[in-house]
Amino acid sequence: MSAKSPGPRRRRRLAAVTSLIMAVLLCTLGAAAASADPPADNRACLRCHGMATLAYRDGITGNLIDLSIDPGRLAGSVHGKVACVKCHAQGYRDYPHPQDARREQLDCVGCHREAHERISYPFEAIAGQFAKSIHATGDDPKLRGFGCHSCHDPHAFRVSTVGKPLGEIVMDDNAVCLSCHAQVTDPLSDRHRWLPKREAHWAAVRCIECHTPIAVGGDGAQRVSHQILAGKESNSTCVNCHSGSQRLLSRLYAYRSQEDLARDGLFGKAVFNEAYVVGLSRSPLIDRLSLAFIGVTALGLMAHGLGRYLAYRRSRGKQP
């Protein structure tokens, strides 16, 4: 690994990751969501919904219902240029909003199915995958009303987050799951106890890497399926990731691998391969120490050979 400071290097890596993700995904965004400032009407809605703490606890479940919308994140999201009333078109003019308006159900596919000029992302395929997902098929009463927006906040959704290290992407992604499955990280709980280095996995791997089927489907644009698997059906085979045919490298880490190649070249990557797949440490320090150890061993061997050769010559010279 080079002696460059981590700062610029990381930034370059980020830029590379970002551009790759953008190239694969973001370029497909349609023109409809581009240009023009946020609609003026949104201000009227954000007067209340822009309050950072606009929320309440559901009277029956006690769950927090967050009604607040961060105006900054909304503006930066893929829907930032869409007027609120385009989606929420049912009589929200007055406060308090009428009961029937509150019952509206919106999902991504409903809007995006017919509007192919807007985006060519495979929403239909996703809908199919989701239909098989544990979130759609489970019989837990908590799953009532589960939809796209249970995970994807339409008011903050971005195809990729610009300028984020993979670790942060992993954390943000997992935070979506953990917002409901908080008990998973309960230190007193036994869940995932079987997983060696549990915390390290959680910090570096997205939940969905294991909790979705290995085969995504035909569409190359999609790296991970929306069919979330139940715990017992999920991947628990180490070698699916820790092997030559690395499962992870075809997903989020694909961007990392390609970026490593771009940065270090084929040889550099071969020598300094930080991949965790074959049991390497992922620690640059240990990588270097191992290399140094090999080098010293080689030098020792050479010195030994040279010594023996010289001793041999001296003993021959002494002999008459």
Binding site: T53, L54, Y56, R57, D94, Y95, Q105, G110
Partner: protein
């Protein structure tokens, strides 16, 4: 050769060791025997071992009688609480008696120290040494959540309750020079309540620790009744002076000071506040304590009524009807009640929802041993034992505290911009003092003393308190700092809200008070008086005003922009006092203290200042060591440039360069108690005549119009396109589409 060398080396080492030991012994001896008298000579006061008349040895019979009495009392209270009142009195009495003798109730309610003292043979309470006999060490829970064992006395002596100042960091106070008080890397000075400039008490704890005042309730020529006054009534370090030793960079308080600590005022259920009065003995004046066995036998963890013995004074006030301590003023030399309340926000079951729910002070102010957290948001210069420990509503109530109202989401929405107190403290006590004139005292015929004249008291919003942006930081003279999150500079409290009283009702009341004062002080010019009281900036020269503007913009603006500001209610306060004009800056001048007896007895406020300034510690304050040790920094924080001027203001018995002035801006004190369960109605703020000055808070005109009009707020002004989109869209749940 080597032998000689090693011998020499050994010799040298021995000499060094011997020399070091000698130096150490000399230092220890000097510290033990030389330092205390030198220190006493410097501050001009000395300590002495204290004795208390009520610290008596009980005979076995007396002990058992007291034990039976206390046990009965505790068991009765507990039993009576669980027997309903809706029955025949005899039936109730019989049930209570039965309950009182059940083993479980005895176990749960009988004071535990009865048995402990009985077994240990303790028949006399001798102060801290009795407590420390069994509690030399205690468990304390630090910020990391782990229990550790600490030395009890050491833990207490270094707590703010004992020393009421600190030279460590942790202040949320910023000087007018823009520096955070005692920030890391700065020259740290001891500051806190012991030496902060404050117009409410009118005195320093150094000059006003314990005083006996000759009152004449029957008239100026009538018989004299002695009354107690002074800061020591509420501070647990009970000697002849505040524990000034702790302000020095080295040294500890001497044994006799530690022996004077009043453990029981915080820990005893049966502490008799009637024992808390000033006594004069051969050594001087000091505060008496209750060191009776009755108090000692009823000790336990500090509970609300224990804390409130002192703290109701600064919350509800002395004149608050439910202030229990104010009902027990002393069996002799009764304490003087302060009529004007410092905050007027009582913590009592009658006026606070948390007190009514029997929530204990320490439930929110969770202690670490004897160190208590004040919360991270302090507007004034009061020291804080645990500056990193949070004390806030949110800890329990979360960010979604409203569950009852149909508007609960909207109410919760306000949490981002409003503190809970803004809606849930609707009024303060009427006696909340806003403007206090120390310079022109008024005779109180009932008490027979001259008192400072409170020319305006009010507990009403906009009058006794106002609403300000607050990010948790305060200025050196207790001004809330913060800014409208819109980031503009339209919010300008130190040139607006804190320096102008514009309410015509308040101005009229001030004028009426001035007219009344003029009857006794003919030199008062009524218009000038009203102007100075309601527009204190008028006392500043144009040059100082300009400098003030520049210092606010350069030094305070950046602090105001820190963090996340929310709107909090703040009690307003200003006082007219004598000031040392040699140490004046754009925010005020050094306040001079009053001598309590001279002030209360003669009503000659100037003579009272003369007497107080004669105090040795004030003389020291005007000398070079004090200047270098702390006053230069103190003045820099105060906004006075050029350091502390050491021109002693008393020359030949006359005050020189001393003038009466109002502080140049009102102080703003946080109010966090007196919480009402039901908050304000929307229209109290969102109306044309609402209590919230949205324009003053830095909102632009169009937003102000919107905020003052509930109808506008409740109805979104959607444009035509929005309407059109709405009209065209059928409301079919589940299939959302966008009309093109």
């Amino acid at each position: 050769m080597t032998k000689v060398l090693s011998k020499l080396r050994k010799h040298a080492t021995r000499r060094v060791l011997r020399f070091t030991a000698m130096v150490l012994i000399v230092l220890v001896l000097a510290y033990q025997f030389l330092y205390p008298p030198l220190f006493d000579a410097y501050v001009g006061k000395s300590n002495a071992l204290l004795t208390y008349a009520n610290s008596q040895t009980l005979s076995e019979r007396e002990f058992e009688a007291l034990a039976r009495d206390l046990s009965r009392q505790a068991r009765y209270t507990k039993a009576a609480a669980s027997v309903g009142a809706d029955q025949a009195p005899l039936a109730r009495q019989v049930k209570i008696e039965m309950l009182m003798n059940t083993p479980s109730l005895i176990r749960d309610s009988e004071p535990r120290h009865i048995d402990y003292f009985r077994e240990a043979g303790i028949r006399r309470y001798e102060g801290p040494q009795t407590c420390l006999g069994c509690h030399p060490r205690m468990k304390a829970r630090g910020d990391d959540g782990h229990l550790r064992t600490v030395d009890t006395l050491d833990n207490l002596v270094n707590s703010i309750h004992f020393k009421f100042q600190t030279d460590t960091g942790g202040f949320s106070t910023y000087g007018y020079d823009g520096r955070r008080v005692n920030a890391p890397g700065s020259h740290r000075i001891p500051v806190g309540k012991i030496d902060r400039a404050c117009g409410i008490p009118g005195s320093f704890s150094w000059t006003g620790w314990a005083a006996l005042v000759a009152s004449r309730p029957a008239g100026a020529t009538g018989p004299v009744t002695l009354r107690s006054e002074g800061c020591g009534q509420c501070h647990i370090g009970g000697n002849y002076q505040p524990p000034t030793e702790k302000m020095m960079p080295v040294g500890d308080v001497p044994y006799e000071v530690k022996d004077g600590i009043d453990c029981l005022i915080c820990h005893s259920t049966d502490y008799d506040m009637n024992q808390r009065y000033v006594i004069r003995d051969a050594h001087g004046l000091r505060w008496n304590q209750d060191r009776s066995m009755r108090a000692a036998l009823s000790v336990g963890p500090a509970r609300n009524d224990h804390c409130l013995r002192c703290h109701q004074h600064n919350m509800g006030g002395d004149a608050y009807p439910h202030n229990q301590a104010a009902q027990a003023l002393g069996t002799e030399n009764k304490r003087i009640l302060h009529q004007g309340a410092k905050r007027g926000n009582p913590f009592s079951p009658e006026d606070d929802v948390h007190a009514a729910a029997a929530i204990q002070c320490t439930d929110c102010h969770v202690p670490d041993g004897h160190r208590l957290p004040r919360g991270r948001q302090g507007v004034d210069l009061v020291a804080n034992d645990l500056p990193n420990r949070e004390v806030s509503c949110q800890t329990c109530h979360t960010q979604t505290p409203h569950n009852n109202s149909p508007d609960r989401a909207l109410l919760n929405g306000h949490v981002a911009r409003l503190a809970c107190e803004t809606c849930h403290i609707k009024v303060l006590q009427d006696k909340n003092v806003v403007l206090r004139d120390w310079v022109h005292p008024t005779w109180n015929p009932e008490e027979g003393i001259f008192e400072p004249t409170d020319i305006y008291r009010s507990g009403a919003p906009g009058k006794g308190f106002t609403f300000l942006w607050f990010n948790g930081n305060g200025s050196f003279l207790a001004n809330a700092l913060g800014n409208n999150p819109n980031g503009t500079t339209d919010y300008d409290p130190l040139m607006q809200q804190m320096v102008h009283i514009r309410d015509p009702e308040v101005i009229a009341a001030v004028r009426a008070a001035a007219i009344e004062l003029k009857a006794r002080y003919p030199e008062i010019d009524i218009e000038a008086y009203v102007r100075a009281a309601t527009d204190p900036l008028s006392q500043l020269s144009p040059a100082l005003l300009e400098r003030r503007r520049a210092m606010i913009d350069q030094n305070l603006r950046p602090v105001m922009a820190l963090g996340k500001s929310r709107i909090y209610p703040f009690k307003l306060f200003n006082a007219m006092m004598y000031e040392d004009m040699g140490n004046q800056g754009p925010f005020g001048a050094m306040i001079l203290p009053f001598d309590y007896p001279v002030y209360y007895e003669t009503g000659d406020s100037r003579a009272a200042v003369v007497q107080a300034v004669r105090d040795p510690i004030v003389k020291r304050m005007y000398q070079r060591p004090f200047k270098l040790y702390m006053m230069d920094d103190f003045m820099s924080y105060f906004g006075v440039s050029g350091g502390w001027k050491t021109n002693y203001p008393l020359v030949n018995g006359k005050l020189v360069n001393v003038e009466p002035h109002w502080m140049r801006q009102m102080g703003t004190l946080t109010i966090n108690h007196g919480i009402q369960g039901k908050g304000r109605e929307c229209r109290e703020c969102h109306a044309l005549d609402g209590i919230m000055d949205f324009a003053g808070l830095g909102y632009p005109p169009e937003r102000v119009a919107e905020l003052r009009d509930p109808d506008q707020l409740k109805s979104a002004a959607l444009s035509k396109t929005g309407d059109a989109a709405r009209a065209k869209t059928p409301s079919v749940p589940g299939s959302e589409q966008s009309p093109k």
